[in-house]
Amino acid sequence: MKITTITLQNVRQFIDPVAISGIGGGLNVLTAANEAGKSTFFDALHAAFFASHRSFDKVVQGLVPNAGGSPSVMVDFESAGDVWRLEKSWGRKASEKAARLYRNGTLVAQAGEAEDQLAGVIGAQAQGGPAGLLWVRQGVVDMSEGGAEQVARRGIMDSVAGEVEAMTGGRRMEAALAAVRKALDAEITSRGPKKDSTYKARIDEVATLEEAQAALETSVRAQEDDLARRRKARAELAEISAPEIRQADEKAAATAAQALAVARAHADKIRTAAGTVDTLKARHDNAADRIDRLDRALGEASAARAALDAATTQVTQDRAEYEVADQRHETALAADTCAAKAASAASAALQQVLRAQGAEAARAERAALEKRLKLADETRYHIEALDAQIAQLLSADALRRLDALAGDVSVATRARDAAAASLTIHYAKGAEARITRGGQVVPPDTPHPLPDRAIFDIEGVGQLVFRPGEGGSADSLARAEAALSKALAETGHAELASARADATGRVTLEAQRRDLLADLKALAPDGLEALRATLARLPEPAGPDPDLPDLVTAEAEEVTAREARNGAKIALEAARQALSKARDALSRSEAALTAAQGRHTRAQAELSAFSDAAAALDEMRSLAQTLQAELAGATAELDALRREAPDLRAAEAADKRARSVIDTTRERSQALEIELARLDTAIGQRGSEGIEEELALTTERLLSARAALAAIEFDIKVNQRLLSALETARAGARDRHVAPVVKELVPLLRLIWPDASPVVDAETGMITRLTRREIEEEVDMLSGGTREQLSLLVRLAFARILAREGRAAPVILDDAIVYTDDDRIMQMFDALTLQAEDVQVIVLSCRQRAFRELGGTLLTISPAAG
């Protein structure tokens, strides 16, 4: 279909007939300012093709002029070699509703028939049909419009790609997919078996049975082990309980006991024989010992006698030597005593001389001390007198206080004077000293304050009495003077000068006191009492001894006496050592004598038991020989017994072992019986539980459960395989289904984006994703301009498809690329130009300047001819 002329009347602002004529087969462009009526033409044209003439809905009502009337549209178009005219008008009244279709100038149909025929001519279907798809209004950017648009696209795709069935598989495919998915959903999730599903139940059943089987197998093995243990225990018990075994054990025990008794009896004999040997040996040893002791006693008696004689001789000799030494010692002692007395007397004399000399010095010292003490006492007296005087005088602190108060008076006075009236007299020449006050000439040129009443005598004039008024300064001065007077009164002075003189005197006295204190310190550094104590310690002086020798003589006599004494001491020491030596020698010899006497006495005592020691010694030697012979005999007998003795330890071991066998057998029997009782209980318990039967049953149930599980798993695999096959087939069909659209779309896209590759949804026929520069993006995420361009390009592609099918439909764009910038719009113009080679494209736009470069046939709105 190709539109050639559109004529409107009574449509919105167009009351009079207007037309767009000369519309060509390729690209046509109508650019006009807003409100020029472009959209009115678009809407009217759309209504002509797609709105029933019987309709008076909002779309149709939107065409009615404000002034009212019946809108009518006339469209001339060509299709399949025929020239067609469609006339359609709408209105509220039936008379206003009309539809007429002309072919090659001949009216071929009216009203509904006209619209039916029109649908056949333009390939329209319900809700607009494929042609309606290609009408794009302002600002259409949505890629997924529903309703008529989608149906139209589906219709185009289906028409180029075959039956719908080929793409989707139809209801059967959907039913099969739904059933398979439902079956799978009932059993599994993406993560594994589904909770509460049969599959999960089977898995759990197998796991439970495997666990039960393992537990039962453990019990069965335990039962088998216990049975084996019981058989072994029974066999062992039977073996050790066999009578012949027991008899043999008891016989062996009796034999061992008998052998042990024999061995023990023999051992007793040996012990008896050994006792005899021991007795004889003891007796023999005792005899030998007595012989030895007697023999040694005789020797000792002889030796003791000789020693006693020698000791007696030595004592006699040593006693004589001692007596001599003792005499010499007594002599030396007497000499020493005399020397000592002489030395003592000399020393005493010397001391007496020395003491006499010391008493003289003490007297001098005492006198000096007494003098110092006297001076000190006097000094202290003076100090105390000064202290009394000082106490009567004004202290420096009191003076400072008075000075401060006087200062206050002075300050107050100056303040009063400063505040008081003053009198300055400037004498005239020749009148100097004519004014006096209190008899004193009032000096000239000096201000005289007059705080109080003042009387000036003026020579030759009389008196000038000055009486000032009351002022604040007088109070301060009065208070200061009162304070000063009070302070002076407290110190007993009437004037500050006397007070100050008093204080000056005190300072003088205090200086004197300090000097006296220094003197006292020099006289008695440690105080008067210490000085008195020192004096008290000095001896009372004695009178001089006229008989005393002089000191030199006394000292010489004392040295002489002392040396004599030293010589006597030496002699006495030598005598004492000699005496000591002699005494030691005598003591030793006397001790030796005492020892010899004791030894002799003991030796005699040893022999005193024997009347005849030698005879006794012979008798003893004879007895010893007899005992020696008896001992030899007994020892031989003992040796013989020992040689013949059975092995007692071996007999004891054999006996112990024989008894042990019996005991061990008894204990083992008891242990086995206990073990058998335990095993009987355990085996009986398990036997009651029928574990083997339960195991056999569980094993069979497990096999069955595993088979059921395998069946379900196979069933799931079958469903998964079927689902995979169905989905794969449908996906392949969809790819093929959208292939024609993609084929037309790609060249258009690449006019804008050189490497663009679209993903077209088989259901909607729209681009869902776009790949550019190897980046795939969801269309919904692209900008409004890009989506607007994609929307237009998809429609151009569908227009090309329709054209190829011989169902060419015009593409009508009413400001359809409003969001596209000027750079991109040139590329869109290229796309439009490319499509317009075999598709009629009518572009309505208000962007006159931009669309001037679109080229194509320029259209205008002009009054309709005739």
Binding site: E163, E165, A166, M167, T168, G169, G170, R171, R172, M173, A175, A176, A179, V180, V220, Q223, E224, L227, R230, R231, I683, G684, R686, G687, S688, E689, G690, I691, E692, E693, E694, L695, A696, L697, T698, T699, E700, R701, L702, L703, S704, A707, F714, K717, V718, N719, R721, L722, A725, L726, T728, A729, R730, G732, A733
Partner: protein, 375 residues
């Protein structure tokens, strides 16, 4: 000498739990095994036999539950007009000391647990030569001793043994194989054998009685026992097989081909008496090929018959689906669905491919066929 009649049975497997069976069927099968004791007693009495020989595996394990053991002992004790001669087999060997000790205590004097390989005088002039299993894997022929066992030549010799003369599978201990001519070498008038759960004749004098109540599909039909009469030493025994089992076990094979009336063929396998089906366990093994529609018809027939039976378990592992163009078209003549079908078909019919992959593809295709058939 008068004829000596006795009942020969084996492999009662009392206490068998049938863990692979559905829960509700399990109880019925267990109960049937217990009831077979009274059935054997009735058969013995009916045939004038005073002795029942159980040739091993009376119990399923050496550790049956107390209930199973005591109820078995009680049942035998109650039939005190009969002598029960019980040989421990591989399942209930003498290794189960606790079982046999308690059982002997609980059973009456008419119950004889044969614990030694030594001749026993069953009756005047009749000697029983038992070969009990000392434990599960004896590792030798337990009947060898019978050859050298002397009995008066004018007396009857009855051997009682458990084990295979050939490899029976199922934990078969080949070292314990019984020579097929043992009846001859041991001069036995009859060798009562156990271990094979179906009746099997090794020779005129050597017989497996089979289990009196079947317990597996390997041995079809209902359980039975042998009533044996020995007229005199050296004379061939007279043997009568008597049905004793309640449940019928069957595992028939059915070969199917495309174009066959599958429903009829399948139903022909089933007993016409629907009432009898309640005590039937059937495990048909289907072989051959079916088209998709036939397979669906088969599934319908199976589902229809299943509730009648104690157990109906159809094995279809050897039954393949044959796909024809019409079958494929029936799913989808064209389009995406057809592509999925073609992909699965290619996998299912690929030669030399992975078996599991082919099985999955075939099953997926069958399922798809079923799913789309309803749309």
């Amino acid at each position: 000498m008068t004829a000596f009649t006795f009942l020969h049975s084996s492999d009662l497997h009392l206490g068998k739990g049938f863990g692979r069976m559905p829960q509700d069927l399990r109880g019925r099968l267990i109960e049937a095994r217990h009831e077979v004791l009274s059935t054997l007693a009735k058969v013995a009495r009916a045939h004038g036999a005073g002795h029942v020989l159980l040739a091993g595996d009376t119990f399923d394990t050496t550790g049956p539950s107390e209930q199973v053991r005591r109820q078995a002992a009680t049942a035998m004790r109650a039939a005190d007009d009969l002598h029960w001669w019980i040989l421990p087999g591989n399942h209930d060997s003498l290794g189960g000391e606790e079982l046999w000790a308690r059982f002997q205590d609980e059973a009456g004097d008419n119950v004889h647990v044969l614990s030694r390989a030594a001749p026993v005088a069953m009756a005047p002039g009749v000697h029983l030569l038992p070969s009990p299993w000392p434990h599960r894997f004896p590792g030798r022929d337990l009947t060898a001793w019978m050859v050298d066992c002397a009995t008066p030549p004018e007396d009857l010799r009855i051997g009682l043994a458990h084990g295979g003369v050939v490899d029976f599978g199922d934990n078969f201990d080949s070292s314990a194989t019984i020579p097929p001519d043992r009846d001859k070498t041991a001069r036995l008038d009859y060798l009562a054998l156990g271990d094979w759960h179906g009746p099997l004749s090794i020779g005129p004098r050597a017989q497996f009685s089979g289990s009196p109540e079947r317990d597996r599909f390997r041995h079809a039909g209902r359980g039975s026992c042998h009533v044996v009469t020995l007229d005199a030493p050296g004379v061939l025994p007279r043997i009568e097989q008597v049905v004793t089992g309640r449940f019928h076990w069957g595992a028939p094979t059915l070969s199917l081909t495309p174009g066959q009336d599958v429903t009829s063929a399948f139903e022909a396998l089933l007993p016409s008496d629907r009432g009898a089906r309640r005590d039937q366990l059937l495990k048909p093994r289907l072989q051959g090929f079916l088209r998709l529609s036939e397979r669906a018809a088969l599934e319908t027939a199976i589902a229809e018959a299943c509730p009648d039976f104690a157990l109906l378990e159809v094995e279809q592992g050897e039954l393949a689906t044959e796909y024809e163009a019409g079958d494929i078209d029936e799913i989808a003549p064209s389009g995406a669905l057809r592509e999925a079908v073609d992909a699965l078909f290619a996998e299912a019919t690929a030669e030399g491919g992975d078996t599991e992959t082919a099985e999955l593809a075939q099953a997926a295709l069958n399922r798809l066929w079923s799913l789309v058939r309803e749309v």
